[in-house]
Symmetry: C2
């Protein structure tokens, strides 16, 4: 193992050079008006080329005409006798108009400054994905048989809904590679610089929009005020019913079934001793919203939320609007069923709509929470691999966000997903001057190699 890590250390510059090549392909799938279909194909072809040189059986899969291709690559000597380790990543990137003027470098020049590669996609997700590819290549170059049978699945639509991959997974596209030992995904962030972490869980989500309709057109509040139901006021009263007077969630049944956090996870999150002051400064607020009995990180990672993401109705004049609209979403935790939560929320809202006023719900999307038990047999080897790769202590964390495809993959493969973030929260994903520390790329390659060794010992 030490020999392998040494090999990685020796060829890091060459690997960075190849990463720059990958990053220079402007494979934007979201947030831009430009047609990037050519670049998306080019990025997929680049990956197929990489895998083919490594003697992987690699192919571009066009799931449907209007989706971006998947890249699927199976390691040489792949055998259904051993459980498969799948590595997921995505080659598509966000647009750069957010705002474009805030970029201080060409977003697709892969410029290197102060130990960082500054480019769109450097950290989300080309760099972390490429770290795995280069780690495996290094292992093969050493002439060793890979410790596990590997399946790379790299999609081109992570930033715009993962439609192709979702279809592929649901249609059984992964089934021929079963059984699976686990899936490894490096599309989360570390806890902090030099604080690498295994993300044990992600919150789920239940999102929908609600519209309350009143008069057939906006009417004058002098002429009709008092005798016509005001959609803004009705919506406000209906949504307020989701909360109690302390601002806590008051939807009957909302908390039912939530699996309690293990004492060990609870202890570890408390021990991280996250600073309220730091959060307040980052958010620019003078107080946080707290739930009694939970540490800050426990609350952020393992407690459900209920947000009103959008409000819209009328205009700042004396009108009563024809329609008022809101977007509502809950972040869910293990034990909460998204469909049930959606129904509870909508029932709670509907119950407060006066007779004769029309309410409708639209644009629902949802995904359950995901987590790996801290006592799962793969957790210790994963942490060990991270420690070998980063030469420092590895933490367990969770994340508050949701990655729906993780849930689909875990369900379809019947195996856990190990979320091994290689980038930092401060890498500016989706924002201007996205960056990836070359040091994290290097340590990511080392972690990948160590992880495959650890997993090989398990399979």
């Amino acid at each position: 193992m030490q020999d392998l890590l040494k090999r990685i250390d020796d060829r890091i510059d060459e690997c960075v050079e190849q990463l720059a090549e990958f990053v220079r392909i402007p494979s934007i799938s979201a947030g831009a008006d430009v047609d990037s279909s050519q670049a998306l194909q080019e990025a997929a072809d680049f990956l197929v080329g990489q895998f083919t040189r490594m003697n992987f059986a690699a192919q571009k899969i066009q799931v449907s005409a209007d989706t971006n291709p998947l890249v699927i690559a199976r390691s040489p000597g792949f055998s259904s006798a051993r459980p498969t380790v799948m590595i997921y990543g995505h080659y598509d990137v966000q647009g750069v108009d957010n705002p474009r003027a805030a970029w201080t470098v060409d977003p697709f020049a892969a410029e290197q400054r102060d130990g960082y590669m500054i480019a769109r996609g450097a950290s989300d997700n080309k760099g972390p994905t490429f770290a795995h590819i280069k780690a495996v290549e290094t292992m093969l170059q050493a002439g060793n048989r890979l410790p596990v049978d590997l399946l790379f699945v790299i999609e081109g639509e992570e930033e715009c809904g993962s439609r192709a991959l979702e279809t592929f997974v649901q249609n059984g596209g992964l089934d021929e590679y079963a059984p699976f030992l686990c899936t490894v995904i490096s599309d989360t962030s570390m806890y902090g610089p030099d604080r690498p972490s295994l993300t044990l869980g992600l919150r789920g989500i239940s999102y929908f929009e609600v519209s309350v309709r009143g008069p057939k057109q906006d009417v004058h509040s002098g002429l009709f005020g008092g005798i016509v139901h005001n959609p803004n006021a009705v919506l406000v009263q209906a949504l307020a019913g989701l909360y109690d007077t302390e601002g806590q969630i008051a939807v009957p049944g909302f908390y039912d079934g939530i699996e309690p956090l293990s004492a060990e996870e609870k202890r570890q999150y408390e021990a991280l001793n996250a600073s309220e002051q730091d959060y307040m400064q980052e958010l620019g607020v003078s107080a946080l919203r707290r739930e009694a009995g939970y540490s800050l990180l426990e609350q952020r990672w393992t407690r459900p939320t209920l947000e009103i993401n959008h409000l819209s109705g009328g205009s700042p004049r004396t009108v009563i609007p024809a329609i008022a609209q809101a977007a509502v979403s809950a972040r869910l935790v293990p034990g909460q069923d998204p469909a049930r939560v959606e129904a509870l929320l909508q029932e709670c809202i509907s119950a407060r709509i006066p007779k004769g006023v029309h309410v409708e719900f639209s644009h629902p999307h949802s995904s359950p929470a995901y987590y790996v038990d801290i006592d799962h047999p793969l957790v210790a080897p994963a942490l060990s691999a991270i420690e070998q790769g980063f030469n420092c202590q590895a933490l367990v964390t969770r994340e508050g966000g949701s990655i729906p495809i993780v849930v689909d993959i875990a369900a379809r493969t019947g195996a856990p997903v190990l979320l091994v973030g290689l980038g930092q929260i401060t890498d500016n994903w989706h924002g201007p001057n996205e960056r990836f520390a070359l040091r994290d790329f290097h340590r990511g390659m080392r972690t990948s190699a160590a992880l495959l060794h650890e997993l090989g010992a398990m399979s």
Copy 2:
């Protein structure tokens, strides 16, 4: 009197022709990007010309460089020994882009069809104002001394805030014409066709906007959901506290001091027996909002309201917004002090803002309700004049809207304002194909002449 009304009947065509001239001047003061300053001056000059021909002492008053001129005209032989009757009107009109394509005629051609003049400003407010001018002219042509001393005050900013007139009134511009018997304004609507009415009251208003600020920028609801106060949710909970669970106003003290409606007014509004079905059809709703114990018209005209006119915050994505905003307004009734109501509403909202969340109020404007007691000695003569003018029974009504300048005028002149609407609710004020029935113009002239006679007998 019968002789005078006969004279009016005889010259109606000539008066319509002159009204057409007035209406053809596109004196737009609101709702258009075009520069109408030339046309506004032209309309004011047209009126000065009219008054001068009638031997009135007439002048254009430019209150400030950035306002449209007032036209002030004093009747011949004006004496401070007799109480003044003031007649108010406005020569400015709304724009025609609402939408322009919906107009089936040139808005400034003063086209006549089926007994209507179809033009912008025909009913709001050139036609009704001109009915008074032409009535007075007819009286003078008969060689009679006017039964009252008259002061015409015609502004050019009613559609955009009445700044010049407000300044003029507040600076004591009317004081030299004191004492006043009353002001006559024909800028309201009749109850219906052949149902002319004296409007006894107008609701007041208290309007303001509220902003709730959270994180310094929109943040991801996965990353920060649960630990940061969501301005949308805070705003919704704060605004919902303005209402009880039945949707009725629950602001402590809001209803305090409201003067009860007289039994006679209550009876008359009940007797009008307004149809809920008609309102529901007009509004396109399947139920009205009702307050127990009040007839439909009593509720619409004499009960206060509390509306959320505008809601805005975030976007239909999984964000927690940096700011959420609303516009709130109450329609006020006699006995409610706008400043006190504004304070009560803002206290009620502020009380529900969690510690550490910033709320601010802005853009306040307000005006108290206005009303003339049904037993006031000028009410019976006014109703009698309307009956003589229209040859049918005159009703008393109120309106739910607010005309702030009415309150200012009444306060400064220390005399009641008689609101004698000459147009119909269906005249499409501010909309396309605004119209004024020539029959209403004719009967308006008759009403004006009869009213001045009745008032002459009182002074």
